[in-house]
């Protein structure tokens, strides 16, 4: 038996538990309750004002969250990866540690903290909580790229006459884009699709797209729920293809 055959069990597993379920999302999205083909689930979404506005809000929050995470996270990752500025290996552990702790727990704790401080739950607290939940997911991939980056690129740029400031903008930032890209992937779509977190952080005032999907599935409206999920899948597909096709980014990863 060839060793490449050892991948067969997992290939079968992936086909059943990853590929087939995604196909089923599409199948259910294009069926009505009786199993007949229909486009009504799709058209319903585009006439569903509630769903559309939730979708718009979700995208808006996700964009804001992603931008804030980059603005706060990039400098942090840069400092963490810089030996002169940060010599301790423990600090990076402290930054990734929250990734390992139940997000619901952390969210509830944040919400309670707001309650006690007397801060009204709303969009502000939602954004704060989202940044709080997702910041480590932005810092870690950027840190990883920066820490592995060959220092000779920076030295070569200096050697060719670039000041430290120019080295940062012309070399470090472009070469660290793969990290930013995967950070964005790990922050943007999950923000759009979270449920529970937005409920707790806004006292049910703001719904995100994930909540609508969950509500429909829970109310046994599987087909419409599947259509909403399918809609998100399409967006994920587009964004990953976009970031995956970025050839420069791939080159810098190696």
């Amino acid at each position: 038996m060839k060793r490449s055959h050892w991948s067969i069990p997992y290939a079968v597993f992936l086909a059943i538990f990853v590929a087939l379920p995604l196909v089923l999302i599409m199948v259910y999205a294009l069926q009505d309750g009786q199993g007949h083909f229909t486009l009504s689930n799709i058209t319903r979404f585009f006439s569903d004002k509630d769903a559309l506005s939730t979708f718009a809000v979700s995208i808006e929050i996700a964009i804001e969250n992603t931008l804030i995470c980059i603005l706060l996270g990039y400098p942090a990752a840069w400092i963490l990866a810089n030996r002169q500025l940060n010599r301790s290996a423990v600090t990076i552990v402290l930054f990734i540690l929250p990734m390992w702790i139940n997000a619901l727990m952390r969210t509830l704790a944040t919400a309670e903290l707001f309650n006690i401080l007397g801060i009204q739950l709303g969009k502000g607290t939602l954004l704060y909580g989202m940044v709080y939940d997702y910041l480590p997911f932005m810092i870690y991939p950027i840190y990883n790229v920066l820490v592995k980056m060959d220092k000779s690129y920076q030295e070569a740029a200096q050697d060719l006459g670039a000041t430290p400031w120019k080295v940062f903008w012309k070399i470090t930032v472009p070469l660290s884009m793969p990290g930013v890209t995967s950070g964005v992937l790990m922050v943007f779509m999950p923000t759009v699709s979270t449920f529970a977190i937005s409920e707790f952080l806004t006292n049910n005032k703001i719904k995100l797209f994930g909540t609508i999907i969950q509500e429909n599935i829970n109310a046994s409206m599987w087909n419409y729920g599947a259509a909403l999920a399918f809609f998100m899948l399409v967006i994920i597909g587009i964004t990953t293809m976009f970031s995956g096709n970025n050839k420069e980014a791939e080159g810098a990863l190696i």
Partner: protein, 266 residues
């Protein structure tokens, strides 16, 4: 000077990240029912947690047990499946390899809700009654990719001839796997296991969609239900504090050991 500013920036972020966790830890040492009300120092909540005498729901302990059981079983299966798969993928080339890597990446890129909904539809479609088995299968599906990705680099570092050398010296493929490959891959397998384990512990959405209606609760779904009822069970505070401390110690130990190993190599 630059260093001082940098450190201040890092510490401000860290304080913001840890404030809620510290806040919970502090209030795990008081008896009050409502978070934020200090009713004097007490270790009563810890006693309740360990003796199982809950003020509220008694199912917290069983939720913890379910969580651990599901995480252990699914991470162990993920480790075995993922290691064998990684060896297979490592020996694949071209289109087949790209296809498998692509499929392997999907569970990691997909938001939890999508994974949850898609698996929910799968079990509906297959008329598979949902419960422990479906939750564990689902957790295997998103845990295994992490094992594959942790083991693959170890395979790349490994001398490609050692497996052949074992066969050449008379080992059967199974013996070569057990006696030569696995010892070489062990570090990758262990970190893959830890990743799969914590992903499972952490999961809420996938469990939520695939647990069916038999009343199966994990810690996440328990907290969710609890919070929706209004007001968390007070015993959750010591539990969260303990989990936090265990993970903190684990991560620090792993990391310090790694950096010491690296230094020794240099």
């Amino acid at each position: 000077m630059k260093r001082v500013f940098a450190q201040i920036y890092l510490w401000i972020l860290l304080i913001l990240l840890y404030a809620p966790l510290v806040f919970i830890a502090i209030f795990s040492f008081t008896e009050s029912k409502v978070l934020g009300n200090w009713a004097g120092f007490s270790t009563k909540l810890y006693e309740n947690l360990f003796t199982g005498r809950m003020q509220g729901s008694a199912s917290l302990i069983s939720a913890v047990e379910n969580t651990l059981l599901i995480a252990l079983v699914s991470a162990a299966v993920s480790m075995a499946l993922g290691t064998i798969a990684a060896i297979g993928i490592h020996n694949l080339t071209g289109r087949k390899r790209r296809a498998l890597t692509f499929l392997n990446n999907i569970p990691m890129i997909n938001p939890d809700v999508i994974t949850g909904v898609s698996l929910f539809l799968l079990f509906i479609f297959l008329h598979f009654s949902q419960g422990y088995v479906t939750v564990i299968l689902s957790h295997i599906s998103f845990g295994t990719p992490y094992v594959v990705l942790s083991v693959l680099p170890k395979l790349q570092q490994m001398n490609p001839n050692i497996y052949e050398a074992a066969l050449d010296l008379g080992a059967t493929p199974a013996q070569a796997l057990r006696k030569v490959l696995v010892p070489q891959l062990r570090p990758g397998m262990i970190s893959g296991f830890i990743l799969a384990f914590t992903m499972s512990l952490d999961d809420f959405a996938v469990t939520f969609f695939t647990r069916g209606t038999i009343g199966l609760e994990t810690l996440s779904t328990y907290i969710y239900a609890d919070a929706r009822k209004g007001g968390l069970t007070p015993e959750l505070r010591p539990l969260m504090t303990l989990i936090f401390l265990i993970i903190l110690v684990l991560l620090l130990v792993i990391n310090l050991r790694q950096s010491r190993l690296q230094k020794a190599h240099e």
